[in-house]
Symmetry: D2
Subunit: 170 residues, 4 copies
C-alpha cells in the first residue's frame, strides 16, 4: 500500500505537514512513502505544464492512500492547496485513491470544514472517501488524543478501503 | 449483506422511493431487504419515543448498505427526511453502515446537493460514505443511464466497503 | 418594520425561541411583533394545506425582518425547521424579507452551520441575507457577549436592509 | 459608489473577467471603477508582503461594491482566486464592502457553488452579501438573459446595500 501526504501550507515544513505525517503513521503503522509539500513546487503551480507539478500530481494519483492536509484560512482550505488540486483531472484524477481530508485550525470553530468543504473537492476528483474528515487544533495536535481517537474510530475503514483498492487494481 | 432503502418524500410510494429501489438493485443485484418510506411513520416523527419510528431506526442502523433518498426541496434534502435522521444517535447511529446519498430533482441545478448537504449529515451519524453521491432527474431516471453509470463507477467501491463492514462486525 | 422570530425546536418554549427573541430585541430595540414556535403547528407540517401552517407562512413572508432559529441537530438545522421552510415558495417565498440565520449548539464545533447550511435555504426562498449568520452556545448565550457583539457588528447592516425593503415595497 | 471587479481565472482577460464586467455594468449602469485580474499579480500571490498584491487588496477593501468572479474548477472556485482572498484580513478585510459572488461553468451542474462555497469565504472576510450568488454558463452568458434577470431581481437590493454602506462610512 503506497501512502502519500500532501500539505497545502504557504510555509514549508509546517505543522500541517507534520500533522499529516502523524496521521499517516497512525493509520498505516509506518512512514508515508511520499511527501508533497505543495509550496515547494513554487510558481509552476500558477500555470499548467510544469514538470515538477506534473510529477507530484502523478505521484499522488498513483497512491493508494493520501492524506490531504491544510491549515484553515478564511474558514476553509488554503488557496495554495486548491492550486495543486486544480491540476488533477476532474472525475478520475484521484480514482482508486483513498483520500483523508485533514485540516488544522487555531480554534474549534471551523471543525466542519474538512467534511463540508475539503472532502467535496476530493470527491469531485474521483477519490474514495470512506471516513469522516479530521480537524485538529494546531496548538495541541501533538499532545491531545484526536489522532489516536480518529485512528481507532476510522482506521479500519480507511485501510480496508485502501487495501481493497490495491487488490482491485492489481 | 443486509440492504435497506430510505425515502424521505412527503408523498408515499414516490419516484424517490422507486429510484432508491432501482439504485439498490443495480448496486447489489437483488431487491433491497427492507424499505422505509419515511412518510408512513406519520406524526410520531415529530417527537421521540414512537415505537414504529424506533423500529425503523433500528432496522436502518443494523443494515450493511443503505440508500438514503430525497427529492430536492429548497435546494437540499426534505424536512421529513431530516426529521427521521434526527432520530439517530450522533456519531455512531450509522456506525458500520455504508450509506449512499441519493437525491432527485426536476432540473440539473441542484446536482451538488447530495455531496455537499446530504452526505455530511450521514457522516455526522457515523456512516461510512466511500462513494460520491448521486443526483437524478426525476423525469428521466428510469430511461437515462445515470444509475447504470454510477453503478459501473462506484458499485465496486460501495459493495466492497459494505462487505468489509460485514466481516469486521461478524 | 415588522419583525418575526421563528424557532424550529421540537420542544416548545425552548432556549432556541428565547435566544431568537433576545437577538430580535437587540437588533430592533423592541419586542418581535410575531412569534412562530414551529412545533406548535403540529402534524399539519407533514402535509400541505393546513390552515395554521399557511397562516404562519403568510405571517413570516409578510415580515420585514425574520430571525430563523434552530438548535444544532446532526451538525445542521433541525428537521422540524426544514419542514416549515419546505412550505414556502421557492425563489420568492421570502422575497423582501431580511433573514438572519441563528443556530444554538452545545459546543463550538458547529459554528459554521448557520452560514454554510441554514443561510442557503433562506437564499433559495428569496430572502435578503446581508449579514453573517450567528452561532450561540446554548449554555452561555444569556450571559456571554455574542448577541451584543453581533448586534454591534451587523445590526446597522441588517436594519438598514430591512428598512430599505420597507421603503421599496411601500 | 466605487465599484471593482475581481476575476480569479488562471488565464488573463478571460470570459470570467468579461462576465464580471457585464454584471457590474448591469448593476450600476456604468463601467467598474477598478479591475483586478488576479493572475496578473503573478508569483507574489504565493507569499505575503508583495506590493502589487497589497495594492490590489487595498483597492478591493476600499470599494463599495465588488463582483468576485471565478470559473468553476473541481466544482468550486479556483485556487488562484482563493490565493488572493487569503491575503485579506479575517473578519473585517471586506468590512463595508457589498460583495457579489459570481461563477461561470461549462454546464448547469455546479449552480449551487456561488452560494454554498464562494459566498461563505466572502462572509468570513466580513463582506455584506445581501443577494443570492449568480452562476452563468460560459458559453451563453453574452446571449442569455441571466445577467438581466439577476439584475432585475437583485439589483435594487445590492445597490441599496452598497449605497447604505457609503453613507454610513462617510
Amino acid at each position: 500500500m503506497k501512502t502519500t501526504i500532501v500539505a497545502g501550507n504557504p510555509k514549508p515544513a509546517s505543522r500541517t505537514l507534520d500533522a499529516a505525517g502523524l496521521l499517516a503513521r497512525a493509520l498505516t503503522g509506518s512512514e508515508p512513502d511520499h511527501v508533497v509539500d505543495v509550496v515547494s513546487l513554487g510558481p509552476g503551480l500558477l500555470g499548467w505544464g510544469d514538470d515538477a507539478v506534473a510529477s507530484a500530481v502523478e505521484l499522488v494519483a498513483s497512491s493508494d492512500l493520501v492524506v490531504f492536509a491544510s491549515p484553515t484560512f478564511k474558514a476553509t482550505y488554503t488557496g495554495i492547496l486548491k492550486l495543486f488540486l486544480d491540476q488533477f483531472a476532474t472525475g478520475d484524477g484521484l480514482k482508486d485513491v483513498v483520500a483523508v481530508p485533514l485540516m488544522l485550525g487555531a480554534g474549534p470553530a471551523h471543525a466542519m470544514a474538512p467534511d463540508l468543504l475539503l472532502k467535496p473537492v476530493l470527491v469531485e476528483l474521483g477519490a474514495t472517501t470512506p471516513a469522516a474528515g479530521l480537524y485538529l487544533l494546531d496548538s495541541t495536535y501533538t499532545t491531545d488524543t484526536r489522532i489516536a481517537d480518529y485512528t481507532e474510530r476510522w482506521g479500519g475503514v480507511i485501510t480496508s478501503a485502501a487495501t481493497a483498492g490495491t487488490e482491485s487494481t492489481s
